[in-house]
């Protein structure tokens, strides 16, 4: 059987044109997906059932027992941390926020280690965003700053920019100018009309120089800024000002380097400056397929996009204090529920160490590095493969993820609702 027009649950491009071949409850092939998406559909190393860590190894346990024990651990904890959420659908994220409020815990998403700083900047100066359809149909100048879409979002160029012809851009490859800023040469910089090769940590200064030039104050810019010549900067400033429609995309090269959210604030203010001359927009290259969704769900439920602390009985938000890495590094939480992410692989070792000293429960279909710290792991359906639900694309467009097969696995949302029900009922199913 071939399931047509499936949405890919890997990155936040949410490519919606996949054809998935299914035979005997297994995916046997995927058409149109990139390498990353294909591997996600084809990976078949799932846990067969819930497991519990014992003194000498691991034991399989019934699902009901795993859920009840998780509820007991959450209820007994004084400061539980509920972390992850970017690899699951909005329905599970909503159930997670309800659960966090019920147990007075902290809920944080992988946002805090990807585009959290972008949200902090947007809260300071706003978000001049647009849909990817606008970019595809209108943009004649595209900037990729501090990101490598050829490796992190492999179809971004073919669906929305360099190789995507649009309503007003009839021959995209020739008509769109692509500017890539990075500290190293990559497969993406190789495709650039202009490669801004800047020194590490030089993003803020180069963005500031471009702002000055766009404002007509180029005379204050020195001959070289963070390794980039004034001549190249002036050429780029002119190219951006002459654009009919410009689209600025950026990634971890801005969010994870010194300056953090101040880098993104400077990028937004460059876009603001350019929009006094022509039309420019800015879009973070969100990573996980539904990391944007958590920010949407959490905001409409609590008023804040991530790192929300319910310990006071109301929503409190203070990134740097209520973010997962900080809470773990301070050894503050006494229980951790991990849903649809892998902090042991992606957090600094100093933060991961604390997971070894507290009870950890993980909802994830696959064994991963957080499994090494889990007291219990409950395998769930893979959102977008054997569970349906809503996900938000990197431009904030919600799309309905399809269920292409049924493996009899519960989804994240149903397990989270059952945990909440048990806690509300005072224990016991």
């Amino acid at each position: 059987m071939i399931v047509k027009d499936v949405i890919c649950p890997f990155c936040a491009c949410l490519c919606d044109d996949l054809d998935v071949h299914v035979e005997d409850g297994r995916v046997t092939g995927v058409d149109n997906a990139c390498d990353l998406g294909s591997h996600k559909f084809m990976t078949d190393h799932r846990l067969e059932g819930p497991i519990r860590r014992t003194a000498s190894g691991w034991q399989e346990i019934p699902l009901e027992e795993a859920i009840r024990e998780t509820a007991e651990l959450l209820e007994a904890a004084e400061r539980p941390l509920l972390y992850g959420w970017s690899g699951t659908c909005g329905e599970a994220q909503s159930a997670g926020v309800h659960l966090a409020e019920r147990v007075g815990g902290v809920i944080d998403a992988t946002t805090s280690v990807c585009h959290g700083p972008s949200i902090l900047a947007i809260q300071e100066v706003g978000h001049p965003g647009c849909t990817l359809g606008q970019v595809k149909n209108r943009a004649d100048v595209v900037v990729y700053w501090g990101c490598n879409p050829q490796h992190a979002h492999p179809r971004h160029l073919s669906r929305y920019t360099t190789y995507a012809d649009g309503f007003f851009v009839h021959n995209a490859f020739k008509e769109r100018k692509v500017i890539v800023a990075d500290i190293r040469g990559t497969d993406s910089t190789n495709l650039a009309d202009e490669f801004i090769r800047l020194q590490p940590g030089g993003d803020y200064a180069v963005l500031g120089a471009l702002r000055a030039m766009v404002r007509g104050k180029g005379s204050v810019v020195p001959p070289e800024v963070a390794g980039v010549s004034r001549e190249q900067l002036q050429r780029i400033a002119d190219l951006c000002k002459k654009a009919k429609y410009g689209a600025f995309f950026f990634g971890m090269g801005l969010t994870q380097t010194a300056g953090k959210y101040k880098n993104i604030r400077n990028a937004i203010e460059l876009v603001d400056e350019l929009s006094r001359h022509t039309k420019w927009t800015l879009t973070p290259m969100r990573g996980h397929f539904n990391v944007y969704g958590f920010n949407e769900v959490c905001t409409w439920m609590t008023g804040y996009p991530y790192a929300v602390d319910f310990a006071r009985g109301l929503a409190f938000y203070n990134p740097g204090e209520t973010t997962a890495v900080d809470i773990l590094a301070r050894r503050e939480c006494d229980m951790c529920l991990v849903v649809a992410s892998d902090p042991a692989a992606h957090f600094p070792a100093e933060a991961v160490e604390h997971l070894a000293s507290i009870p950890v429960v993980q909802l994830d279909p696959f064994p991963n590095l957080t499994t090494a710290f889990a007291r219990i792991q409950i395998p769930v359906a893979v959102s977008g493969i054997d569970a349906e639900g809503t996900a938000y694309r990197m431009d904030g467009v919600p799309l309905r993820m399809r269920k292409v097969l049924d493996r009899g696995c519960p989804d994240d949302a149903s397990i989270l609702r059952e945990i909440t029900r048990i806690i509300n009922d005072g224990g016991g199913p």
Partner: protein, 125 residues
Amino acid sequence: MMLNTGRTIPQGNSVEYKPSPEYGAETSRAFLAPLDLMDLGIESGERIRVTHRGRSVVLTVSASDGIPPGTLFVPYGAHANHVVPAATHGTGMPDFKNIMVEVEPTRDPVRSVWELMEDLGGRRL
């Protein structure tokens, strides 16, 4: 030298099954400028020990023309995060890039991802 971490296609391909040899092999790679490998007296396929504030990890080097001299690029994962500091400077975001590290050639073996987790108090499945 300066350590920078980031995404690669092989890292993304194996990210849903991290116990696999492919994942560990990719996340334990360090890409350096060819001139830096000459300075260190090693060649692609040999190993370095990367140290930051008392934490260290062994990586396998690959020469890459795109890497600026004085820097090394390591795909996201448990190996790089073994030396990434946890401080977030009040933002929630650690420094996954621009970390000043010490780099020296070594003949020590590269540790598997499970061994790294065991070092931190975890247990392999």
